[in-house]
Every structure is written in structure tokens, then in C-alpha cells.
Symmetry: C2
Subunit: 436 residues, 2 copies
């Protein structure tokens, strides 16, 4: 993509309405635009990141054996009356009356709807286990939306729902999602720590929050120092293996939010790290909490009806965009982890109009594109300082800088955004390195 044609409305000033760094940087980098309180449009740069994150979430759900569906945003109030949650939910639920005066709502979550789909179609234990997920916009009418997409009203969430014939099966489903979540966040370059959590309005028996470490995070966190060195992707077993040992190990290393942490408890480890974090996922095992009132039963091996054991598993997809920025930025802007970067390479032409510089930039742009590398080519007629500042702000992992002075010596400069490390390379070597 050529920057001269790219719709990237970066801001020079820091927006005063934004209280946290990710909100400020998303506005300054032209990623989002608020359209109503707590409701945002995603501009091209922001949309690219959102899609990358969504795709990693999807791949790990698929790898765990979950199947993707898509439920609608608008639900009937009747379904929520069956579970008893219609009245419980309060003003956070956006309630709607349609033209026929039917009571509807904008779904804040989908336990009721998926349970209705399940009970309609699944009749036998032989069709279990089953895990269905979707990635869909939700609405929660927060009284005071703030912090940008971190706590918006309309937000994108991945929610999965597992169905099993018994508690042992449900525990396996829970462990598979536990593994998928650790893998998902690790692939995004995040250090995510599962913490035993209260189940809240979802209800149930067992629950973990996944909190990623970020210096500017919303909550205080205490954890065993071991967490900092754990390599989830190296240790993770395969789906299909028995996950019990993995689950036991990763739930036994100490971690607690500051509300739950007790320094005087003898089980608290000595090697303790105090940090800050952001919740990005939450998983629940809640047995028959929904299957019972909604009568979601299947025929068991003996032909008798059995209420299914359920769990639900959420990831805040749009929230993750902000959470990643909280975890990865510096005073100059965003530092995207490679896996979620909107473009891999920012190509900077230091002197548009200089024939040789234009030619080399054109060749690099074409060569990288032909190899499937996403490049944002800054071909604008702007001063180098403006280009460097914008490129740092939007945080692409690699900056490839091409100018007449370097080209006289046959070199271009390659900078790694995360470390600031720079090297002078021949055009061919730079190309080879970025394609590799």
C-alpha cells in the first residue's frame, strides 16, 4: 500500500479526551474514530490489526476442535426469560422493541442462544463432545464508557460454548480451551497468565481469567517469578493428548490479582513479582446452569435423557488491540508484535523525485509484495523527520529506509522498531532478510 493513497489520518497532537496510552496512540495513529460514546469505527490501519488478531484467535479455536458458527447480534427477550437472566442483567443490556412491539435485545453474550440451537439439533450423547464458537459484535451499555476500545459499548468478542455428556468430558473441554487461550496470547507476543476467578453473572463452578502483563495495565497482579520465563508454545502439548498434567502445572504456579493476593498466606511464594495486567479472556465451567432451565438434554448410553454439562469461553478481540498496545509501546508510539502488525515493513523513501531513490524503492516495494510481504510504502512528499515520526507512531516491525546518500554506497538502512537496532545492507540483502 502506498501511503500517499492510504487513508491514515494520523494526529500530531495528543487527544485530550484519552486517559490511557493505548487510547491516545490508537487515535494518534489513525486506527479508530469514535462515532458515539463507547462506539468506534475502525479505520484501515486499525481494521488490519483487528483482523490479524481475529485470525489467530480463529486458528487456535479451530485447532482445539471448536467449530465456527455465527449467531446474530439481535436476540429475542424470550430466550433470556427462559434462563432467568432477562431481569437479572439490568441496564447494561441494550433492550430494543421492534416494529411489532416484540421485546428484543442486542446480545451481550450468547449462552441462551447457543443452548437453544443445541437442544434443537443434538439428541444423542454420540454427537458429543461439541464446542461451537463465533466471533461477533456484542453490546454492553456501560454507564460510563471510557478507555477507547478497552471498555467500549460495541465490542468484538470470540465466545465459545462446550457441551459434554458428563463432568469429566466438560473438564477435558475446559482444559482444551485453557490450552488454546495460552497458545493464542503467546502467538500474539503476549505474556498471559491464567488466574483463578470468580464466576460472576455467568455462574458456575470453575473459572479462569487470562491477564496479560502490561506496565500500564488496569489491575495489580502478583505472580511467581517463574511466570516470566515460561515458554507456553514450547511446553504446550498437542490437542488430543491428555492435558491434565499441563493444566495442573499451569494452574499451580502462583498468580493472583491484588484483590485476592494475600502476602501472609503461607502458600504465597517467596520469589514474587508485582506487576500490572489487563484481562483479555475468561473461561467458565458451569455444569447445567443453562441446560437445566432450558432443558438441553440428550439421550445417554442407556437411552435416558441427560442434561448436558456446559462451559463458555470468551476472548475480547477488539479489547486485545488496545491491550497489545498497552503491553508494547514506547514514547514514540506503538511497537506491534510481528504476528499482529498491520504491515510487516514500512518502506521510507527519503527523497521522492530523486530518480535512483524512486527506482530502488519501486523495486523493493514490488519485490516484497511479490513475496507476499505486506509493505506500507511512504512515498509522500514530506520531510524525513515527519516520515520517521509517523513510522514510529504506527509501529510497524521493520523500517526500510532508502535515500540518495546510502544508495551512493549501494546501501539501505533496516531498522527494527522494537529494539531500535539499525543496519546498513545492500538492497539485495535487505530484501532477502525481509522475505526470509
Amino acid at each position: 500500500m502506498r501511503m500517499s493513497a492510504f487513508f491514515l489520518p494520523t494526529l500530531k497532537e495528543t487527544p485530550t479526551e484519552a486517559q490511557i496510552v493505548s487510547h491516545r496512540l490508537m487515535l494518534r495513529a489513525g486506527m479508530i474514530r469514535q462515532t458515539s460514546a463507547g462506539i468506534y469505527s475502525w479505520l484501515p490501519l486499525g481494521w488490519r490489526v483487528l483482523r490479524r488478531i481475529e485470525q489467530i484467535v480463529r486458528e487456535e479455536q479451530d485447532a482445539a476442535g471448536a467449530q465456527e458458527v455465527l449467531m446474530p447480534t439481535i436476540q429475542s427477550a424470550d430466550l433470556w426469560r427462559e434462563s432467568g437472566r432477562y431481569d437479572d442483567y439490568g441496564k447494561e443490556m441494550l433492550r430494543i422493541t421492534d416494529r411489532h412491539e416484540r421485546e428484543m435485545l442486542y446480545g451481550p453474550t450468547n449462552e441462551e442462544m447457543i443452548t437453544d440451537i443445541f437442544r434443537t439439533f443434538v439428541k444423542s450423547y454420540r454427537q458429543l463432545p461439541l464446542n461451537l464458537y463465533h466471533i461477533q459484535w456484542k453490546f454492553r451499555d456501560e454507564i460510563r464508557p471510557r478507555f477507547g476500545v478497552m471498555r467500549g459499548r460495541e465490542f468484538l468478542m470470540k465466545d465459545a460454548y462446550s457441551f459434554d455428556i458428563d463432568a469429566a468430558g466438560a473438564k477435558r473441554s475446559y482444559q482444551a480451551m485453557f490450552l488454546a487461550y495460552l497458545r493464542t496470547f503467546a502467538r500474539m507476543g503476549l505474556k498471559a497468565i491464567p488466574m483463578r476467578a470468580d464466576t460472576g453473572p455467568i455462574g458456575g463452578d470453575l473459572s479462569h481469567e487470562f491477564i496479560i502483563l502490561a506496565e500500564t495495565g488496569e489491575s495489580g497482579v502478583f505472580c511467581d517469578k517463574q511466570w516470566l520465563d515460561l515458554d507456553v508454545l514450547a511446553e504446550a502439548p498437542n490437542h488430543g493428548d491428555d492435558l491434565q498434567a499441563f493444566f495442573d502445572r499451569f494452574t499451580s504456579i502462583y498468580a493472583a490479582t491484588d484483590e485476592k493476593h494475600d502476602a501472609d498466606d503461607p502458600s504465597t511464594p517467596k520469589d514474587l513479582v508485582s506487576a500490572r495486567g489487563i484481562e483479555v479472556g475468561h473461561i467458565f465451567y458451569f455444569g447445567t446452569k443453562y441446560s437445566k432451565p432450558m432443558n438441553a438434554a440428550v439421550a445417554g448410553p442407556d437411552g435416558e435423557p441427560v442434561l448436558v454439562e456446559m462451559g463458555s469461553y470468551g476472548i475480547g478481540v477488539s479489547r486485545l488491540v488496545a491491550a497489545i498496545i498497552e503491553a508494547s509501546h514506547d514514547e514514540n508510539g506503538i511497537i506491534w508484535p510481528d504476528a499482529v502488525a498491520p504491515f510487516k515493513v514500512g518502506l521510507i523513501n527519503l527523497k521522492p523525485g530523486d530518480a535512483e531513490t524512486d527506482r530502488v524503492c519501486g523495486d523493493l516495494y514490488a519485490g516484497l509484495g511479490a513475496s507476499g510481504v505486506d509493505v506500507l510504502y511512504d512515498d509522500r512528499d514530506e520531510r524525513p523527520g515527519v516520515k520517521f515520526a509517523d513510522m514510529d507512531l504506527i509501529g510497524l516491525p521493520w523500517h526500510l529506509v532508502v535515500g540518495p546518500r546510502g544508495l551512493k554506497n549501494g546501501t539501505v538502512e533496516l531498522k527494527r522498531r522494537a529494539t531500535g537496532a539499525r543496519e546498513e545492507l545492500s538492497v539485495e540483502a535487505a530484501l532477502a532478510k525481509l522475505i526470509a
Copy 2:
């Protein structure tokens, strides 16, 4: 995907509530489930098709130079008051009041919101032309929703919006979308015919509907016989070329809906075909209809403000799923065009439990998967007749049938769903053919 684990709730009986063939087949094939009047959940098979269609739409929008964004579903009523459409829209607009008693609505379209984004960020003619699109769920509170996803209330639409400094630029933007639309539908295996249309509530000066031919289509259509032989993909120029000649040619060949057709008009061609069709896209050039009331102006070359010339361009993405079925089915079920098929190959194991049949099926499943071919493997313990019927119903393009009798001769059977043509092939030859 193994069918024994795939959530594919096919129905044996024809649902009585469905009046048109696509609705019946989508229900029977386990693609969708109605959750409220005119509101549907997409089950895994339907979701796969919806995503394929969405991806083709996206690729052709990108190729035409449009840039993807994502606007929210919930909009502020104030924006619609600026354009004057808040009162005009009537009861089809789903109106919502939030917890602070602010008037909101579920967007039926996005002219106002995109114009607001544009006027906030774009200040100079040098930033034009600009075309922004998104693929997002919309809501229209139809008084009598019917025909399944063909006329649902919550539906997925691609809508693009172009901004130009003058009418000549706007015409070029219109022509680029005209070309993109013809390419989009042709890639899906559809014969789409652009027809001069009224502009309706969107307003404006120039408009075309794109109608695909389908025997069971909703509207009568008359067109020049030439249309049947036109090969859009062969004739299409490149984006960036002057599109005037292409546009002139494709708008000059006679086509009209039955309301507009006049058999006595001397311009009506002799070689006329009477057919039926379904509207799947609609494009509009409407000049300053929105930029004027909303004051979306940029500085022109002389520094004076100029109201931008706009167009909007819609494709009914969820509607296309049904429209394709209307255009491509037989008495046994759906016939998916290759480009949108949920899986390319249906692999049928005629005798699960037979060691050699299981082994060959397992090898084929693994071999096709390793080559990136999407396969649905019917490994269920069901009679062959049930498997053949289900596979015809869900309409995968290729059926690969493996049983002990064929294997004795070293062969498997490959059937093309669209034609019914069958051939006996060695396992290797079948694999090679499907991978090619």
C-alpha cells in the same frame, strides 16, 4: 473435517415454513437456523459459504482500490438528522434508546457515518479520490420478513462509498465499482446483468442494479440474448485503465426488469430473452446529496472549498448465499459453484470398518488436506444411500466415493456434482486430479 464430528444438522423433511427453494435447501442442508423472525444463526456449513463469498467481495473491492474499514452497527440518530433521513426512513429503521435516553439506531446503511468520518479527516483535493468500504451486519425491520436470508431483517452487506473532487472523478469511481461488481459475481459463477435503476431512498443521478439470472428468481427480466454469451472475466479491462469503453459496452446491451420493459419500444432488440432474476447489488452516484447537508467539503486546487461528489455501492453478502442456490440447484439439492463451495471435495467411505476402505479413505483425506484441499469426509456409520443423498443435498463440487468393490480393481469413483458425470480412477489419479 470428519462428518462424524461436524455439526451438520441436515433435515430429512422439507420445512413447511419455507416458500422458496433456497430457504428450503438452506434449512435442509443445516446451513442456518432461524432465531427470531427474519434473524438467522449461521451454522458451520452456512458460515463457510458466507465467508467465501465475503472474501471474493473483499478481494475485488481491494483490487478496485477501495480500502476496508469497519463501522459499528449502532449509530447516533443525530447524524441521520443532519442528512434529513431520520424522519424519512420510517419503521424499517430499528430505533433504539440507550440507558441515557439517547436516540440511537441499528444502521440500515452508512452514508451519514462515512460522510462524517470523511469530513473529519479529509481536507484537501489531493487526498482524493477515496473509496472506503466495509462488510458489516445491517438491520432493516421488514414488516413481513420471509424467504429466509433472501429478505431477512439482520443481514450482511458490503457497502462502499466514493469521494471525488468533481463529477468526472465520481464517474470514474462509479465505473471502477461497476467493473468490480461484474467481476465479483462472475467469479462466483453467476451471470449478473447490470440494469439501469431508479435511485429510491438513497437518491441521486445514476444507478444500476445487478441482477443475477436464476430460474426461480423473484423478478421478471428481459435482456438481449448477447448477455448469455458474454464472458466478463475475459473482457474485463484492468483497474487503472480507462473504463469508459467497457462501461459503454456493458450498459448499452439491452436489459430491463419487467416493470420497465417495453416490448413496443423500437430500441428493444429482436433477440430477446425472457428470464427471471434476483437483485444482488446496487450502485449509486448521487453527487452532493449528502456532502451538502453535512458540509463535507475539501480545499480545491485554488484553495476554495468544494463539496465532494459521492457514490455508494452495495452488495448483499448474506443474500448472495441464497441467490447462488436459487441459480444453482437441482431436485437433489444445492450445486455450489467451485469458488464458494464450503468444501471442494466430499469423500464418501462406503464401508466404515472395512480395513482397506478405511485405510484408503484415511490416505486420501490426509493427502488432500496436506495439499490444502478442503475435504468433508463422510466417515459415519450410515448406509450408502443416506451418504449419497446428504452429499447431493449439501452440494459439494466433487464426490469421491471409496468402497471395497472398487478397491478390488484398484479404483475409486469421482463424481462431478454439477453434471453428474462419474469416472473410475486409480487412487493416485483421483488425488492428482483434485489437487490440480
